[in-house]
């Protein structure tokens, strides 16, 4: 019941987000057809503005936007004028979805066991050595890690292609570049929550019962220790699935991240609004999924 309500609540929320975004991008100075972007005579500029209905009052523009939206039409990009926003998203989103999904699996697949290892070896040299590595991961931005990986593994050793997005072999370096930072963060979070959980009475009880250490860790402790990771992972996944500007530009990947940044800088109103809506819908759904997961992992979590 609760989740059905939340699901229905998604639509008014998206409406609010689209309205605020609509207002925000029009408060920002400059427009998509400023003369320094598109040199044109005043008549042509007026005609273009009329075509995109930019000459109408703001609320009327928003009304038209909503009417189009109701038909599933996100409009035509003002920068890439032969492409509708639906086309652009349709082409770039699958790429970002693949890369983001892989990076997410990489981040959790490495981060969680890594954090568990740090927690059970807390204060010992394994914790210090691998803990330092996780901190380096947290501090190493994609624009450093990416070129380094390309230089060593692609140019020198020629194990992987330098760039582009074609075969699964092309996926490896971008996935690592995008996922490493999050793997480090997940490891830090798991290390902390695992440490706390392992001090609980029910773990002492499980030990007293004579359960094996691995059963205690995986069946009992990890469930609770994953709570903060779930809260953290939902927005992280929304970020990953909608592309990364840095990783895409390093590896020449045709994903969504570049469009996010460029549509902001170009004041490409329809494209940016469409991207924000997509991102918001993903985020709301994933946060809802996170709330469901929290309740599944810990039965004491109640939302009523």
């Amino acid at each position: 019941m609760f989740f059905l309500k939340r699901l229905l609540f998604l639509f008014p929320l998206l409406l609010v987000i689209s309205f605020i975004t609509f207002g925000l991008i029009r408060i920002a100075p400059g427009g998509p057809f400023d003369s320094n972007r598109v040199p044109a005579t005043p008549e042509i500029e007026r005609a273009i503005r009329a075509k995109y209905r930019l000459d109408k009052p703001l609320l009327v523009q928003y009304g038209y936007y909503l009417a189009d939206l109701a038909r599933g039409d996100l409009g035509v990009s003002t920068k890439y004028r032969n492409h509708t926003v639906n086309d652009i998203i349709g082409q770039a989103f699958p790429v970002s979805l693949t890369l983001g999904g892989l990076a997410f699996c990489f981040a959790l697949g490495f981060g969680i066991p890594w954090g568990v290892l740090l927690a059970i070896r807390r204060g010992q040299w394994v914790d210090h050595a691998l803990g330092l590595l996780s901190l380096i991961g947290v501090c190493l931005p994609g624009f450093v890690l990416g070129p380094l990986l390309v230089l060593t593994l692609a140019v020198r050793l020629e194990w992987f292609p330098v760039a582009l997005w074609e075969t699964p072999l092309h996926f490896v370096l971008p996935t690592v570049t995008l996922g490493a930072l999050f793997a480090g963060k997940v490891a830090r979070l798991v290390r902390e929550s695992m440490t706390t959980t392992l001090q609980s009475e029910f773990i002492v009880a499980a030990r007293a019962k004579g359960l094996s250490e691995s059963a205690i860790l995986i069946k009992h402790a990890l469930r609770l220790a994953l709570l903060p990771v779930v809260s953290f992972a939902a927005p992280m996944l929304a970020d990953l699935l909608t592309g990364s500007f840095v990783v895409e530009s390093i590896f020449q990947i045709p994903g969504l991240g570049g469009f996010f940044v460029n549509s902001s800088l170009n004041r490409d109103y329809p494209l940016l609004s469409g991207l924000v809506l997509l991102y918001a819908a993903l985020l709301l759904l994933l946060n809802l999924a996170a709330d469901v997961t929290l309740a599944l992992l810990d039965r004491r979590v109640r939302y009523e």
Partner: protein
């Protein structure tokens, strides 16, 4: 009947805060790291008196590797990299501190209240977080740096333009930094609020604020501290991303993020100026390492389950 004597009367009479401080002082790495961070701040403040090199003194000595004269080497404009790194610490440490401060004050309060009250309040507060998280951050910063900066600069008097921009950049980064913290704290509080010790306290007649502050939050500090230490590098790096887009700080100002980014731009297969990346990045990692030891020390000191 005589009163049973307590085994360690002095220890039991310590307040939680005094006990925390005692535990923290015993943690050598944490104390050393705290000292290091204080020394770093001091160094940043007095550096202009110590160095023979100007921050923006452009010379012909381009891309010199590290040497006795230039410990960290020189950059593309022949400027002393050590001086740039120390100078860049100002913006980066401030941005990190503001981001962590906002995440701590607003994020923890928001998340704790939302999770503790639950139900409709939780739904409303978390949807506000969702909406803020969805808004395009680049446009948000552009609006801040243009529209709001003009108003602020006008209010602050003449020549305040760059300062107003810097303040708003800090404000904008702070505004983004608390959202995930709120989600994490809220998730933990949701799980904690129905545990036996909370019910016990409620049965004893403690009021809500006391339960939240004395019983629930002490169990959350650990994860809060860890996420704060993760927030600092995120904010520092996001600042460099904005600077790269031309929205953050501009040359000749420097920050660790922008120095790493400038260094990374010089990475190519033919000639590697490794010091341009290694020194700013190492400074960031070492600072973060120190912050992490302090965080670990604080976490153990504040742990309600730790030994007395």
């Amino acid at each position: 009947m005589s009163e049973p004597t307590l085994a360690v009367p002095v220890m039991l009479s310590l307040t939680p805060r005094a006990r925390a401080w005692r535990r923290f002082r015993r943690n050598t790495p944490a104390v050393v790291s705290l000292g290091f961070l204080c020394a770093l701040v001091l160094l940043v403040l007095v550096w202009p008196l110590l160095t023979p090199y100007g921050v923006n003194a452009i010379t012909d000595a381009q891309f010199l590797p590290p040497s006795g004269q230039h410990w960290f080497g020189t950059d593309v404009h022949g400027r002393d990299l050590l001086t740039r790194v120390v100078y860049g610490a100002r913006v980066s440490l401030l941005v990190g501190a503001v981001g962590a401060g906002v995440a701590f004050v607003i994020g923890v309060t928001w998340g704790a209240v939302s999770g503790y009250l639950g139900g409709r309040v939780d739904a409303a507060m978390m949807r506000i977080v969702d909406v803020l998280y969805s808004l395009p951050s680049i446009i948000f910063v552009i609006v801040l740096l243009t529209t709001v900066a003009k108003v602020l600069a006008a209010a602050m008097g003449p020549n305040a333009g760059p300062l107003a921009q810097l303040l708003l950049l800090f404000g904008g980064l702070g505004a983004i930094s608390w959202l995930t913290m709120a989600r994490i704290v809220r998730g933990q509080v949701l799980s904690l609020r129905h545990r036996a010790f909370v019910d016990a306290s409620r049965v004893l007649g403690a009021h809500e604020a006391r339960i939240l502050w004395r019983h629930i939050l002490p169990n959350v500090w650990g994860i809060v501290i860890v996420y704060l230490t993760l927030t600092v590098p995120s904010v520092i790096l996001y600042e460099s991303f904005l600077s790269y887009l031309g929205l953050g700080i501009q040359q000749p100002l420097a920050s660790w993020g922008s120095l790493v980014a400038d260094g990374a731009a010089q990475i190519n297969p033919i000639q590697i100026y490794w010091w341009l990346v290694v020194f700013p990045a190492t400074t960031l990692v070492v600072t973060l390492l120190a912050l992490n030891f302090v965080g670990d020390g604080l976490r153990d000191a504040l742990d309600p389950r730790g030994e007395k």
